[in-house]
Symmetry: C2
Subunit: 466 residues, 2 copies
Amino acid sequence: MVNVGLKLFGDAVRSQGAAVVDVDWRIPAGGDPALVAALVETYGASSEGVDRANAEVCRRLDSAAPVLSGLATALDVVPGMGERTLLHPGPPVAWDDVCDPLRRSARVAVMAEGWAATPEAAEALIASGDVDLQPANEHATVGPMATVLGPSAPVFVVENPQGGGSQGNRAFAGINQGPGAAPWFGVETPDAVARVVLLREAVRPVLESALAATIEAGGLIDVFSIAAQGLQMGDDAHMRTQACTNLLVRALLPGLVAADGDRGVEVARFLATNHLLFLNIVMAAAKATSDWASVVPGSTIVTGMARNGTTFGVKVAGLDRWFTAPAPDVGRALFHPGYGPGDAAPDIGDSAVLETLGLGGAAAAASPAVATFLGGKMAGAVAATRAMESICAGRSTRFRIPYLDFSGSPVGIDLRRVVTLEITPGITTGILDATQGRGQVGAGVATAPLAAFQAALLGVAESLKA
Amino acid sequence: MVNVGLKLFGDAVRSQGAAVVDVDWRIPAGGDPALVAALVETYGASSEGVDRANAEVCRRLDSAAPVLSGLATALDVVPGMGERTLLHPGPPVAWDDVCDPLRRSARVAVMAEGWAATPEAAEALIASGDVDLQPANEHATVGPMATVLGPSAPVFVVENPQGGGSQGNRAFAGINQGPGAAPWFGVETPDAVARVVLLREAVRPVLESALAATIEAGGLIDVFSIAAQGLQMGDDAHMRTQACTNLLVRALLPGLVAADGDRGVEVARFLATNHLLFLNIVMAAAKATSDWASVVPGSTIVTGMARNGTTFGVKVAGLDRWFTAPAPDVGRALFHPGYGPGDAAPDIGDSAVLETLGLGGAAAAASPAVATFLGGKMAGAVAATRAMESICAGRSTRFRIPYLDFSGSPVGIDLRRVVTLEITPGITTGILDATQGRGQVGAGVATAPLAAFQAALLGVAESLKA
């Protein structure tokens, strides 16, 4: 006899001498009537349509092949970018609610744009409402950690040829700001301002020229092809992009050497120390992909996850809105010497879009580096990938994990599974100083908050009934 | 009761009703009296001294930290290099016995040196005895596949500070000749000659300048530190050096961009397509290490393995001579389209020195790329590493294998184990066209010939009695 649920019943049978197997089953969603109704709706009456929609969303998440086509000025290419717009990560957030590292990064962006000369003046300008603070995600743009982009910022242009429109759909991301004193880590020193200017004045022209030469010689750059290779080389393509970055840099090498100008060596030094160059590029590719997938209606598949350090937002295909919950702490973490959980800002950045299509936490088992954050053995990383498998609808046909006999990483987070199992995505990420602007203080794996996924499922159920 | 050996005896006991465990035991070395005597000597009377010597050899193989210090002209730095010397891989071999791809490579070297203008003239010159054909290994130098170096060839200089002499001991290797039409693959077209000239005239000055700048900025380059990182990124550091090469290239980037001269872009193009740049460097580091280990007397640990395409040679610590057997075919192989085993030259090159200290086949389980040659799943690569473990005396403290929970790769091939178990090292390697000079036709894992190890053990036993 198999006893599902109430242990008392099993005990009663057992007392009568029969063999009993207890199965750990609970009423889903803690018995919350609205959530149970949403599960009944999406697994029941609407399941055929939902499954069909989900299959199409997963197909898009798994098959889009976005290409890196170059660099441009944000004002020139980012839709809806204004002369006084700043793009921030995560769901919309009022300036008063913005966390400390993101405030600092926004002030650096203001100073780098030349709108103010000091942090105090920058703060006053933003607080006055004279700056249009916008979620990057609403402008086809993504930024890791506390990245803030102004209109003069150079952005990578990534095109998804299969997306809507004659050119496909496009997405954008700034040039990764590199290690140390950089605003994406919540640092607002003069060096941090100088870093943003360096990217705009020096790195951009060299990289732009190198990209153009590389593309002329070998065609547009297939971003996910590099990511797939990186997974064979220990990257999860989120927390760790060392292999991907190096593959890209070696491909760019002739163009970098050929680039005009007298700042080539300075730029090369920056690139030589930045193993996360590829991060922003693969994020833009993931954004172009998820934007394409997100227009499929009637699905329970997550097409966006983003954090602003205050809230964690989930988007689901077919519904153009954020479902939010408070941003979580990064639970499984290693800290730089001298820092600890008390110094840590909550989870932040748009990079969690990578986890929607098989990278980052979904590909943890590909990465020895990620394993160091999960107990130090590969088993911990495998467990993270397995947890993602349990809540995903499909498997990647291109992102393969050597450690798991080259099986595909999980793709397509299904809200129904998340809510039923109460397992949420694990997101590999950095950790910023919460209050003092000292930059990155650690890294780890954040557990996405269940409440955001529950809210999203309720939203889907409501839309299905409408 | 445990029954070792004759099954008949076990059957007899079993017939009397007792529990019997059959253990598969055979008289070692097929019962060859000399080999059995050598095992008895080295495992018996001499075992204490042998074990002590072996521990010191393993310590050296595991702890040497050779550094890349620059590039130089072979004639200027390679000991015993003459104006008419050519260095070839593997044990000594008479010109008449040299295999086809190595003949071609030697003729290319003659043409690149300007000693002859055509393959025919080069052949005649070598056959006349006017060229001094020397095993590179006897001159502290190593070359992968069919590499032949003339006196004008640029060589990487690698120094082992712990070795003998005030500067430590040094070892050398040419610049990897890259993909396609290159003489190390047995190609002798005009393009192949041009490749050697390109290395000397264009690549050398750019790389030399970049290395000098990188070393000035960051110190001498710890070769095995890069290899250790590479193992975390899917390299075995022999057949596959993609990750190591890319780590090195990104480190060299500022120096490459800063290098003077008008051939920088041409050199960058060469580097962008050559993922084996690191191979020759790590081979030189392994050679410097094994040369240091090889002066320890009274050991049964292998400190050198090299092949010239005709014979496979083994060196053992303390004995300055080669023990040879016919070069094997590369058994577990994948061939380029249109090629098969019938096109394959026997195993060739000095790169097997890597397998003596925990890289290559010993680190197969670190490399998804190597796994593709061993059944396509990681289990095949793990089996290759496990086989090496069974014949090795120690474990690397620096070359760690993620897939095996970061345990160290096997180090220190013990002749006694090889002869007893009749398991020989597996060597990850490329495969050359046997007769027509079409270059690389495949890659795979070669199984070293047992006879060479048996001969080496006999040599050790003899020396212990002397």
